[in-house]
Assembly symmetry: C2
Homo-oligomer: 208 residues x 2
């Protein structure tokens, strides 16, 4: 297909497709004349993935390039690729002092022991977790700790269901696209369901 | 205490305190001279609550005024007040066509039946849920439905733990402040724990 059709099929504008090509996120088409190229199904799949990473996942162009390079390495496992995707997702960045960090770190160690989590030190998600826990502490709302084990257990259940569901999608590209969408839209889904559940729990526990 | 001390104690600037007073979110102090007023512990509590509602919850001034009015009605239950708070929290607003709405509505009915949820029709959280489900559908990622029951069950567990924890905070003002902070920062906590759990589930399920 020609560029115009690639744009129609993928829902990505011609200008954006050309930008992705200049940035090395989309391989060139097969040249059929000095000014015309032909594109195939692989280009559509790649374009949809790039769009999900950039527009839904909020990854930088450099992070997308790294994810794609890993997908294209034949010996990278899907787990390796998902790890690179996760590193690129925007996280919580909060400055915390040494005492607060120590406090959060020891809570996280307790939860990790309960859940059998390995938690590579210095990983961005662990840094995000330290930031969120310290935000509760800073405004004097440590009561959340009463619910922390329940949060971690629920996160484990949801994450296992997520990985099971995306693993069924087949190709590494489809799994990666599903993981990005599932991570970002899944946050919104879980947050919204939690609000519904709050209303129900409040009625049962505090209503008349 | 004087205005300057109220500002120091509450961490809210004098200009913001005066703005809250003009908007009717903070009662006037007791006049000790035509130009000086005295404030007490009730002002500090109210100021902290207003700040949590505005800065963390993202409620409009009109929504905060309605929450405060409900708190000050002696016969409103904590459940009633939490309902008003929840209505004021920003939600997901997505335009969905009739067919997608029908599809989302029937999924939600199934989940509500599984969970024993009542779901008042037209409530903002149900509208948000319709919007999020349709967002998955629109980009062709209905696989999330495989995990939906698990998401809803986890939301119920977390919400019950949240309501138990904030109910212990005592006064309606403290419970409401806790609910706002728990809703908003709790979203960030759950999302971050889910990312940690994703890495662990990916390692167990897809790693080598």
């Amino acid at each position: 297909m020609r560029m115009a059709e690639l744009s129609r099929e993928s829902g990505v504008s011609v200008a954006t497709i050309k930008y992705y090509q200049r940035e090395g996120l989309l391989p060139p088409g097969e040249l059929t004349s000095p000014n015309q190229a032909r594109y195939g199904a692989a280009h559509i799949r790649r374009l949809k993935l790039v769009r999900a990473l950039v527009e839904i996942g909020g990854l930088s162009v450099a992070a997308v390039r790294e994810v794609l390079a890993r997908i294209d390495e034949s010996d990278a496992s899907t787990h390796d690729v998902l790890g690179v995707v996760q590193q690129g997702l925007p996280g919580v960045r909060v400055d915390v002092d040494a005492a607060d960090r120590e406090w959060a770190r020891s809570l996280i160690d307790t939860i990790a022991a309960e859940r059998g989590w390995r938690l590579p030190p210095g990983s961005p998600v662990v840094e995000s977790l330290i930031g969120v826990l310290c935000a509760f502490r800073e405004i004097g709302h440590e009561w959340v700790l009463d619910a922390l084990s329940c949060y971690a257990e629920s996160a484990d259940r949801v994450a296992a269901a997520d990985i099971d569901a995306v693993a069924r999608l087949g190709s590494t590209e489809a799994v990666v696209e599903g993981a990005v969408i599932g991570t970002v839209l899944g946050d919104a889904l879980l947050a919204t369901l939690r609000r519904v559940a709050h209303a129900e729990a409040s009625r049962k526990r505090l209503g008349d």
